[in-house]
């Protein structure tokens, strides 16, 4: 039976207890970076709910891919074949250029760029907080995802991994208000920082002097500083430069190159190298060790 008078602790006491818990949680989660592992575990625990919430959309997608006409498929195939030929041609060119570049780099005795391991991921379409720009993807720590891993789509940088659960993880987008990424202008190598503005189509560049050579339409690529993002991936295109001399710095806005509002498939870049590459390096290392031991003996 429902008691008319509440038993146990009064609601006010419970409220105070709960509010204290919230304050402690907010403090730890916001200020302590060590809390990230806990968030990883929590992400793991709720991932069934996320997969469940994603199921209707998955079914719709499955249905729409199954219900296509033969003509559509044939046309698609034709398109793919054409683009494959096109890309193959580019790949041939690229391999020649790459080997040449490596040779030149070794001549200049600057470090040779390593191959980067890549991983494919798909977005789980679940809703996130309207106050932050995040998406959830269907890869987690079991697949080798780690925190801070760069994420991109076919056009450019999208963001980085925020929390890695075991089978799903959360990506923070470059347009999020708490995110910033070091970039340089491809045209002249001028270095800037692109901070998110909370708007999906705008990045802000703070503290740029009026004399800086920035033009509308300039492509910004990652500069590789900060060692989170590898160098040379496109990030954004400058859309507005306003040099109002009454202000201390120039006002510069840019628009992300990646289609952040239309994401579906993503690519994750890893710091570790692919298998064959690391083997090659290991062999090199043993060679150099031998060399040094022989040198030591002599």
């Amino acid at each position: 039976m429902n008691p008319i008078f509440n038993q146990g602790t009064s609601p006010a006491h419970r409220l105070i207890l709960v509010l204290c818990c919230s304050v402690v949680l907010i403090f730890f989660d916001h200020k302590m970076s060590s809390f990230e592992t806990v968030r990883g575990y929590l992400q793991t625990m709720v991932s069934p709910l996320q997969y469940f919430a994603n199921a209707p959309k998955q079914i719709m997608n499955w249905a729409s891919t199954n219900v296509v006409t033969r003509r559509q498929l044939m046309k698609e195939n034709q398109d793919f074949r054409e683009s494959e030929l096109f890309f193959q041609e580019q790949a041939i060119q690229l391999s020649v250029v790459r080997s040449e570049n490596e040779r030149l780099r070794s001549l200049l005795s600057s470090p040779v760029r390593n191959e980067i391991k890549k991983m494919f991921a798909e977005i789980l379409s679940v809703d996130s907080d309207p106050y932050s720009h995040q998406v959830v993807i269907n890869r987690g720590a079991n697949d080798g995802v780690y925190e801070g891993q760069p994420v991109l789509d076919e056009k450019g940088i999208v963001g980085q991994i925020l929390h890695a659960g075991s089978s799903s993880s959360r990506v923070i987008l470059i347009s999020d208000i708490s995110h910033a990424i070091p970039v340089r202008i491809q045209r002249n190598g001028l270095r800037l920082i692109a901070s998110g503005s909370g708007q999906i189509d705008r990045l802000i560049h703070n503290f740029v002097p009026h004399s800086a050579d920035v033009k509308e339409g300039d492509l910004l690529v990652t500069s590789g500083l900060g060692s989170k993002y590898p160098e040379g991936y496109p990030v954004a295109r400058v859309v507005m430069v306003r040099t109002d001399e009454s202000r201390e710095f120039a006002t510069i806005y840019s628009e992300p190159v990646a289609q952040i509002d239309r994401l579906r498939y993503l690519l994750l870049l890893s710091k570790e190298q692919p298998q064959n590459e690391s083997k090659k390096q290991a062999i090199n290392n043993t060679h150099s060790k031998k060399m040094t031991t022989t040198a030591g003996k002599s």
Binding site: I4, Q7, S22, L25, I26, A53, Y131, S132, S178
Partner: protein
């Protein structure tokens, strides 16, 4: 909580959690009603001995993890909104369904404002009027959810 078919309560709350993260078409996304808040308010009015502020806080916490906000933000807001219901459940029970809907609207607005204030305090977010659109849908939805959950409660004889 689990005696007398109490797990049904948990099931409805779970469905509310899933409903609050399922993808919606772009235009309707801003109008997503506060499913979890509505479900919690109903169970607090109907069975205050089973569902209380602690339950609300835990639900808010799970919502925080699901939505990726700073832990404790939604939990805090949810607990504050449900506290008002728990403190006045005997009065609010006797109101007509539309009066209840208005009260839920106020609670929902309070919930969103608390979340906004905390986020503003932590991250300097900017206020947009569409953060309050869910209040409208929540008011419209309340009578239907109320009738549905009452039927559920009577059918499973949850006490």
């Amino acid at each position: 909580m689990f005696s007398n078919n109490g797990f049904i309560i948990l099931l409805t709350l779970l469905i509310a959690l899933i409903a609050s993260i399922t993808p919606m078409p772009m235009g309707f996304d801003a109008f997503r009603p506060d499913w979890v808040l509505i479900a919690l308010v109903y169970w607090c009015l109907a069975l205050p001995s089973k569902v209380n502020i602690i339950t609300a806080w835990v639900m808010g916490f799970i919502l925080d993890v699901l939505l990726g906000s700073v832990l404790g933000v939604h939990a805090c807001a949810m607990a504050l909104s449900v506290y008002i219901i728990v403190d006045n459940f005997q009065k609010i029970r006797n109101f007509s369904i539309w009066q209840q809907a208005l009260i839920i609207g106020v609670l929902s607005a309070q919930y969103h404002l608390v979340v906004f204030w905390l986020q503003r305090f932590l991250n300097d977010v900017v206020f947009l009027p569409n953060y309050l659109y869910p209040v409208i849908t929540t008011i419209v939805l309340w009578p239907w959810v109320f009738l549905l959950l009452r039927r559920v409660r009577r059918h499973f004889r949850i006490k």
